[in-house]
């Protein structure tokens, strides 16, 4: 993992002290709220419905055991004993008091963490594949470049007041687990004809009120030129992005209105001017940062396998966990484990202080002191010996974290919704809970197979409803919460935006509506090997629309 150098440590320490003084001046009345609000937002501090909310950055979703323990400590000491992992691989605390924030930031700084640039019109946390550095299908580990981008984008003087917020995601694998085509910039590892590895740059993706799939801007940018190329994209956006209308201010609107060719011409012109300058990335620097992400000291093991069929007979619940929560590792004898934060009927993405400490202990003991946060609001132990899976599972059972539902219908993404969020129009969590309970039976989940449900409580789409195989958007109509259902969204490399099939449903009707969609899929799929999204693509909207609304 990356470790702060003297510059990083001094910078975060100074910023923490600076914000402590700003809090002091706000409390004493020297600063008005109008003066203070932009300062607190720059430090990740929002004011929500019931209390302040502190959003803490988890760079590219990577945490050490020590860092997760500190998050558990913060949850216990300053909050209500839990934290909420978000769809941008960050963590939020929903109940801190303003006067505790300086101490929280100080605790975070002690483990090389902060809350800077988790809000505001700047470049936000760079997200990536939760299996980075571990996945068997990976072309390159994206984390060294992600770290370089983090350093480049942190307090970038030119990009601190962009037209709107700016989100970058990257994946080093062809199987996109980071939803890169739904980000302002999406980077996918690519190879050129010479076999060199670089980055395909996609631009103008996003969700929100105007969902767009990113367009390919450049099929191959070498590592050494990536910073200059991204700087060029940001400069074009900063210059031409619309500042007159916040709803049209994201780069996706600029790309849509001007066309990808125009944007490409502008970017290339800018790139030609700055290429090879101060943003040239020397191989030595890439090597220096890459050294922080060197593979851990894996043992040379024979390819280990588990007889899952046998385990299922001996212990069906463990067998189900093996079936769903284990991901192939590039090193023989190892695997990555997804720790589900989706207990049946629970709040998606929430973890208690005790659970954080338990996971930190497991990472320390079994996963080279490393763990990940997924954009689907789960945690991952990236590097565990297959021989240790049973011990890990038993510990997860004890911590209440052994739900074997990764990728299944109850592995639901949901934003905090109207229960917490000042922007929301409708509640998300109770809908997720109701669906989870409806489909919670293991046999039912297994029968349905891979099906991603994503729920947002407003059009800002923090719950990624546009890319849910089944997406649910909460709206408010004449004082009532209504839920609009979309079908056919996909966040992967086969990116698709879900289609709205008709009118919305009141909350009580949503589980039945989802069940009708699921039953239609089960009835019409070619075989159990055809997943929901594949069946939808083959069948089209008609049978699903009929399932929801009849023939009318």
């Amino acid at each position: 993992m990356y470790r702060y150098d003297e510059f990083d440590a001094a910078f975060v320490r100074e910023r923490t002290g600076q914000f402590a003084d700003q809090v002091r001046r706000r409390v004493s009345g020297e600063l008005s709220e109008d003066q203070f609000r932009p300062l607190r937002l720059m430090n990740g501090l929002y004011l929500q419905l019931h209390a302040y909310m502190l959003r803490i950055a988890v760079p590219y979703g990577t945490l050490s055991s020590r860092q997760l323990r500190t998050l558990g400590h913060i949850a216990r000491k300053y909050d209500r004993g839990y934290g909420h992992f978000t769809t941008r691989q960050n963590i939020q605390f929903n109940w801190p008091r303003l006067t505790d924030i300086p101490e929280i930031l100080s605790d975070l700084a002690s483990v090389e963490m902060h809350a800077i640039q988790t809000s505001g019109n700047c470049i936000r946390n760079i997200t990536t594949d939760q299996f980075a550095g571990a996945a068997a299908d990976e072309i390159i580990d994206p984390r060294p470049v992600a770290e370089i981008l983090r350093q480049w984008s942190s307090l970038h003087p030119e990009f601190t007041y962009l037209p709107r917020k700016f989100k970058i995601a990257m994946t080093g694998a062809p199987n996109d687990r980071a939803a890169v085509k739904f980000h302002d910039i999406g980077l996918m590892a690519a190879t050129n004809p010479e076999g060199e590895i670089g980055w395909a740059v996609h631009v103008g993706g996003g969700m929100g009120r105007t969902p767009m799939i990113a367009k390919l801007l450049n099929g191959f940018v070498p590592h050494e030129h990536l910073l200059a190329y991204l700087e060029s994209v940001l400069r074009v956006y900063n210059r031409y992005g619309r500042r007159d209308n916040k709803y049209k201010a994201r780069i996706k609107i600029l790309v849509h209105e001007e066309g990808i060719e125009t944007i490409r011409e502008q970017v290339e012109a800018e790139f030609a001017a700055i290429k090879g300058g101060v943003l040239h990335l020397p191989q030595e620097e890439l090597d220096r940062i890459s050294a922080y992400f060197a593979p851990p000291d894996f043992e040379r093991l024979n390819a280990t396998s588990i007889d899952v069929a046998r385990e299922k007979i001996l212990d069906p619940v463990y067998g189900r966990w093996l079936d769903n929560n284990i991901h192939s590792h590039r090193v023989p004898g190892y695997a990555s484990v997804t720790i589900s934060l989706k207990p049946i009927g629970g709040a998606p993405g929430d973890a208690t202080a005790e659970q954080m400490e338990a996971v930190a202990g497991l990472a320390e003991k079994y996963s080279f002191d490393e763990l990940r946060v997924t954009h689907e609001q789960n945690l991952v132990l990236p590097h565990v010996k297959i021989a240790h899976l049973r011990e890990i599972y038993d510990a997860l059972v004890e911590a209440g974290l052994a739900e074997g539902n990764s990728g299944l219908i109850t592995d639901i993404i949901a934003c905090p919704g109207l229960d917490f969020c000042a922007l929301a129009n409708a509640r998300s969590i109770p809908i997720a809970q109701a669906i989870s309970q409806r489909f919670g039976a293991p046999e039912r989940q297994k029968e349905i197979g891979e099906l991603k449900i994503k729920i947002s409580g407003c059009i800002n789409a923090c719950g990624h409803h546009h890319v849910g195989h089944i997406g649910i958007l909460g709206v408010e109509k004449k004082g009532t919460e209504l839920y609009q259902i979309t079908v056919g969204g996909d966040a992967t490399e086969d990116a698709a935006i879900g289609s709205i099939l008709g009118h919305g449903f009141v909350a009580d009707e949503v589980p039945n509506a989802v069940e009708r969609l699921v039953d239609t899929y089960l009835e019409k799929r070619e075989s159990a090997q055809e997943p929901f999204i594949a069946a939808f693509r083959r069948l089209g909207e008609a049978p699903f629309k009929e399932a929801l609304y009849g023939n009318a």
């Binding site: 004011l47 019931h50 629970g346 969590i429």
Partner: protein, 101 residues
């Protein structure tokens, strides 16, 4: 009918202006401004702003039912009672949270 609501600076807790000019946690203690009391309401808003201690200051329409003050919007009913899922007690004022106009 309207009430004044906001979030207290130090705790962030949801609070309401009561009949005595204190900012309190219980919506049922909120002063209800009638349509003809806009002048008094606006004066309370100005006095509250001068304290610099109440953020997100808003007027909210309410209905009186069985002696209770019921916010018309669901959002406000959730603010008054705390989150519904997962259920948590609402945020409370600290000892240093008293604000009055």
């Amino acid at each position: 009918m309207e009430i004044l609501t906001g979030n207290e600076l130090l705790s962030g807790a949801t609070v309401y202006l009561d009949r005595h000019g204190n900012w309190v946690e219980d919506i049922n203690e909120a002063r209800v401004f009638l349509t003809e009391e806009t002048e008094a309401r606006d004066a309370a808003v100005a006095a509250t702003r001068a304290t610099m201690r109440i953020n997100s200051l808003e007027t909210e329409t309410v209905t009186l039912k069985d002696g209770k003050v019921i916010a018309d919007r669901l959002r406000e009913r959730i603010r008054a009672d705390g989150p519904t899922a997962p259920v948590f007690d609402r945020q409370h004022l600290g000892e240093d949270g008293h604000v009055s106009i």
